[in-house]
Amino acid sequence: MRDRSLSRRQFLKGTGALIVSFSFSRPASKALAQSKTPFGIEPDPKSLNSWLAIARDGSVTVFTSKVELGTGIETALAQIVAEELDVPFKRIKMDLGDTAKTVDQSSTTGSRTVESAGPQLRQAAAAARQALMNLASKPLGAPVERLTVEDGVVSVIGNPSKSISYAKLIGGKRFNVAISASGSGRQMKLAPEVRAKDPKQYKIVGASMPRMDLPPKVMGRFSYTQDVKVPGMLHGRVVRPPVVTSKPLSVDEDSVKQIPGIVKVVQEGSLVGVVAKTEWAAIQAAKALKVTWSEPATKLPANPDELYALLKNTKSLRDQVIAEKGNPAAALSQAGKTFEAIYHWPFQLHGMIGPSCAVADVRKDRVTIWTGTQGPFRTRKAIAELLGFPEENIRVIYAEGSGCYGRLSPDDVPEDAVVLSRAVGRPVRVQWMREDEHGWEPKGPAQLMLARAGVDAQGKVVAWDFTDRSFVRTAAEGIPLLASRQVGLKPKREGTANGTQGGGEVYAFENQKVGNALIPWMHPDETPLRTCNLRAPGQPARSFASESFMDEIASELKVDPVQFRLRYLTNKRATETLLAAAKKAQWQERPSPAPASSGSTAKGRGIALTHRTGTFVAIVAEVEVDKLSGNVRVNRITVAHDCGLIVNPNGVQAQIEGNAIQGVSRVLMEEVQFDSSGMKNVDWKSYPILTFPDVPDIEIVLLNRPEMRAQGAGEASLGPVPGAVANAIFDATGVRLREAPFTPSRVLAALKAVPA
């Protein structure tokens, strides 16, 4: 959160300033009819004022409900607006995720921001540019067709001395221009009648503009949600039971009364918390508070075997079909050779370095919340339900948290803060402690993948049948979160699908079925193994299984893994991406495994390909396996990446590097441990992640397609990492690992199970 020089409200207050008013599609007065709330006027998508404002100094403020989660979308969106408006990039300011100032463009999820909000803001900027040209026409004494813009200055073509700046034209005043808007959220079409620039003319889009947020971040001047302070603010902490359905039988207030600064012990339903004058007092009180909890109504599975048995044997809520072609069952029964394998993927953490934090100020008629949510409007709705307040009386103001990776799609902590603030009548800041975050963040669910394939006498795959059995996401839209459940709200849905892609649908087999079975999970009770979308939801696991399975077949047929994949690719972009990765990695054509090595280390390489919402990624992993310890080191990851038009190459590279590193960490090291009484690894020592010495070298080939719409880059490159690593380990050792993570003990056991 940066200091914003320009508040939209200041504009809307009506200072008697000159109003510039005209319309593209309908009278401005009609289009600008907006509803009033305690926080001012609700922004109307059909008013240009809701999207852009130009200040006296010529700076441009962009209002968007999309938020910066660390991935760099703020910078990318600013580039798109600067490009379309013809102003220097440095002049753009972004006002993100304030429900009182922005139109709901839907949550920042699914790597869809540049793809969907990009065109929306581009059209708003194109409309603004057109409005400014119209305005300039009179003072410059020339028709719009004879005007041009450079760096925010409109001038007459062929007569640059006749010019006027945007700042002079409108600086500090409202646009008051109506634009057309239809649909809502991600699907909203904004001013489609306005012609945008030809991408061939792009100068700012496509350039590696430096991130806007980085200078304050490295100086210690950036305000994260953890840094928000409001006058009169108190500090709160919540004390959580083993499962949410567990009730506090007794709360001993005397156990904390000696702590200096303690303000109140709060109990509402089964939610217990403390509020204190200082953060340290709140921490001490939460630790010291004696609570006796009722016997939990729910028990977790006792071990991973029980968990995977549940995944395998529980009747699904419903089945999703991702791809269906021909008759896989018949083809399998007639195939000369059949393959079958089962793959396992554990519960994993998002693992934000800074735990969840929010500030809430609950008043009689209004509520203000500062939080790092991915969906400010979604959070507003959840809080409205929790408090029984109208949504318009709640304002959610986005302040960046610590990374995200899907964790703040269901944003829990503002609910805690709201309950505590209501109880004490003051603003309350709640920050989760490390054990709260590890323990109670909704996790990426465990998955069990079942794969079958049939090959004919010519060595052709004639049948492919792939099913992902994944627990549903229980911390999903429309399902009350922790605090809401604790104060008594009941879930009305069972959960949502853990993503869809990555089950081998990228290949064209004659008979093919790819499906997901949605397995119910610990419902309606909330446990530490609650679930939500973890970066590229479900795809790393599905892709691990499907891409391993591809290699299992290729190896049996003694075909090179790249050549084998090429046989089943019909999409040109997929083919080019695969070949680009192989070329960059200097892929040697031969079947896996590599000839057996003498000595204690074995080296190998593996490849994997995936597709995710318009983006193709191929990854080559090069690994080294210590045969004595079972330790796997990934030495190099080579990525070829096609996400259509690239808005910011350096930004895309950063996302790819992040995905490669997170992917290696997750496939080699990460597993949530539990027994029937709860989760076991609630700190970084017991849930380690990849550190500097083990980070692989990363090589990247970006395939730019300016003729295409920009596609998402935040998640796609995570998908192929586990499969590429698994295939590289097989290439090195001849041992196939079908259960992640590939910890030394698991690798060693697999090596020992194979006769030398």
């Binding site: 200078p215 100086m219 210690g220």
Partner: protein, 154 residues
């Protein structure tokens, strides 16, 4: 509660606080310094790193009483937007950061490394940062930024 005198970024600051409170909360809540971050409270992640008498410490696990009359340097103390420290400049030039929450610890640990070892090898940099966690995966850029800073003049 006790009055405790601290030397932070070259200035003497007196705070009235629980002497058992960890330094991090005093820096953030009493002195308004945002550089050091809460990450784990267990000295496991490095987000709270500050420099005390030339060495990195984990302010989340260092009682404020221990820091009394010692020289504390925070991220704000090494440079500013107008006069950035070479490390801060290098981190921007390498675009070394995504969410940026870990960067405080990275920069503070790198500063202590460069103060002692002006031209570190890549292995030395990685070793110096091994106890600092980053979840976004900015590691390669961070290593490059530290290398770049080593070539810059303060």
């Amino acid at each position: 509660m006790a009055r405790i005198s601290l030397n932070v970024n070259g200035k003497t600051r007196v705070v009235n606080t629980d002497p058992g409170s960890m330094l991090l909360y005093v820096l953030r809540d009493d002195l308004g310094l945002k550089g050091a971050k809460f990450g784990c409270g267990l000295a496991q992640c490095g987000a709270c790193t500050v420099i005390m008498d030339g060495k990195t410490i984990r302010s989340c696990s260092t009682p404020v009483s221990v820091a009394q009359n010692r020289n504390i340097i925070t991220l704000e103390g090494i440079g500013s937007v107008a006069r950035p420290h070479p490390l801060q400049k290098a981190f921007i030039e390498e675009q070394a950061g995504q969410c940026g929450y870990c960067l405080n610890g990275m920069i503070m640990a790198a500063k202590v490394l460069l103060d002692k070892t002006p031209n570190p090898t890549e292995t030395e940099i990685k070793k110096a940062l091994v106890a600092n966690l980053c979840r976004c995966g900015s590691h390669p850029r961070i290593v490059r930024a530290v290398k770049r800073a080593a070539t810059m003049k303060a």
